[in-house]
């Protein structure tokens, strides 16, 4: 096990230059190998890239807020409430990216040829960010729904399945915390992620049928807000999508780093304990 390819702990997900110790050898990780050779230079480059993403995300969000709150005109039908629609759909969009990435990387982990703990970490990072964004989707949607529909919550298919998503992935995060060997945990989590993801479309349809079989929807679909959007509103929304996606990239990269650090900490804790026990036995022999 070599713990020292990235000594000052600057490995990032952005460049794919994670640590190589626990990853299976020979799984086609040019980034990891390059990191070994280039060492600090590759790490610094990924750092710069991540910082750039962070700055872009921050500027993008700030400009979105500025455009959304002050520049764009109020909507003809919704008035100022339309301003909430500059952040709510993009947050929901990021939520889907999060779970999509978590699903794909879980699949990649289970696929023997691409099996690498990096995918496990990516899935964990992405779904944790996803839970945050799902919560925000629910809250911002609710804040929009209260003045628009006159209620904080309604049993609309979209809302119901989003709430289910939230608890499903909370459960997934709980599964990730089950202690065990890294490979065992990763496999278990990957299966849990896939099961949770597969459940989402099924849930959606079941709840859709539940509505369509019984009462006709009495409220406007949140998505219909988009149909009124023109000009500066469209640009603001587009910018919002882009900048929240950048926020996602930045957050996931940071979360991924945290996983890398925690893993290293575990390894070094073990190494430390081993060293101490060996020292003890030497003392006992002496």
């Amino acid at each position: 096990m070599s713990l020292t390819t990235t000594p000052t702990t600057r490995a990032t997900a952005a460049a794919g230059a994670g640590r190589t110790g626990a990853d299976r050898p020979g799984n086609g990780a040019p980034g990891a190998r390059a990191a070994k050779v280039e060492g600090r230079r590759g790490r610094r480059r990924s750092d710069v890239a991540l910082t750039a993403v962070g700055v872009c995300a921050l500027v993008g969000v700030l400009v979105t807020v500025w455009l959304g709150l002050w520049v764009t005109p109020p909507d003809r039908f919704m008035g100022n409430l339309v301003r909430l629609l500059y952040i709510h759909p993009s947050i929901a969009w990021v939520m889907y990216i999060c779970y999509g990435v978590a699903f794909l990387s879980s699949l990649a982990y289970l696929w023997p040829r691409t099996r690498s703990l990096r995918f496990d970490k990516l899935a964990g990072a992405s779904s944790e960010v996803g839970v945050v964004f799902t919560g925000l989707t629910l809250v911002t949607g609710s804040i929009w729904g209260r003045p628009t529909w006159g209620t904080w919550w309604t049993w609309d298919p979209l809302l119901t399945t989003t709430a289910l998503l939230f608890v499903l992935y909370l459960g997934y995060l709980a599964v990730r915390r089950i202690p065990g060997e890294p490979e065992v945990c990763a496999k278990r989590s990957a299966i849990a992620a896939i099961v949770a993801f597969v459940d989402v479309p099924i849930c959606y349809f079941s709840v859709l049928w539940w509505k369509s079989l019984h009462q006709p929807p009495s409220i406007a679909d949140p998505v219909t807000g988009k149909t009124y959007i023109h000009g500066s509103m469209a640009w603001t929304l587009l910018l919002s999508f882009v900048s929240f996606t950048l926020v996602y990239v930045w957050l996931v990269a940071r979360r991924y780093r945290l996983f890398v650090l925690a893993e290293r900490e575990g390894d070094e804790g073990l190494a430390l304990a081993l060293a101490e026990r060996r020292a003890e036995s030497r003392e006992a022999q002496a």
């Binding site: 608890v167 060997e181 278990r188 299966i191 079989l213």
Partner: protein
């Protein structure tokens, strides 16, 4: 696979016959839940009361709560005396183990549902009409429930906090089953079984999907549990 499933199911049911945990604890627990709903939603007086209106939903919630306990019991017996190692080393087909364990829980749950249905009819003052649809949706819903329960039972069996983890994983996954089963029972009890058929289909789809998921995923999960 089917022979292995029979073996495992027989083993689990034999253990239940000797220990009588489901009979002595899970069934009384479900009855307590039914009573608690009665206390929470007021006395049932006649057809239009809240209790009688909500009877299908309450019945299925009680079944769900009992199902968690039954699944926990099903994996608790594997946790004792290194039984899970024995199961892994036995050379039985993992898919067979999955189907067997699910079938054993399903058998217990179906028996429980019969008792509970009687209790609901009696206590919530609801006539059990449309018996065929009721029974069919019970079977389909139970198949889905035990499939999800067995998948997550083995996932959480490695965790030290499995008592709290399993419900968190289980309930969101079976939410659609609760929905469909309630609707199906609603239709049957209201005397319009035609509306319930669609929901029975939904239940069947879920049962098949979750069972398929389980037979595929159980092997790798069991290896590491």
């Amino acid at each position: 696979m089917w022979r292995d499933a029979l073996l495992v199911a027989g083993k689990d049911l034999r253990i239940e016959a000797r220990s009588k945990v489901a009979l002595g604890q899970v069934v009384p627990f479900a009855l307590v839940v039914v009573l608690l709903f009665g206390l929470a939603l007021g006395p049932a007086v006649g057809r239009g009361s809240v209790l009688s209106q909500a009877a299908p939903g309450l019945f299925w919630v009680a079944v769900l709560l009992a199902a968690v306990l039954a699944v926990q019991r099903s994996f608790a017996i594997e946790a004792l005396d290194g039984a899970s190692d024995g199961l892994r080393l036995s050379g039985l087909d993992p898919a067979g183990i999955f189907v067997g364990k699910a079938a054993a829980v399903a058998g217990q749950l179906l028996a429980l549902e019969v008792v509970l249905a009687g209790a609901v009819a009696l206590l919530y003052d609801r006539h059990l009409a449309g018996g065929l649809l009721l029974a069919a949706s019970c079977v389909a819903a139970t198949a889905g429930l035990v499939a999800v329960g067995t998948i997550y039972g083995v996932v959480s069996s490695g965790a030290r906090q499995r008592e709290t983890l399993l419900p968190l994983l289980f309930f969101p996954m079976v939410a659609p089953i609760l929905l469909a089963a309630t609707k199906s029972w609603d239709a049957a009890l209201a005397g319009t079984p035609g509306r319930g058929i669609a929901w029975l289909d939904v239940l069947a789809v879920f049962a098949v999907a979750y069972l398929a998921m389980g037979t595929v995923a159980f092997g790798p999960l069991l290896e590491d549990a």
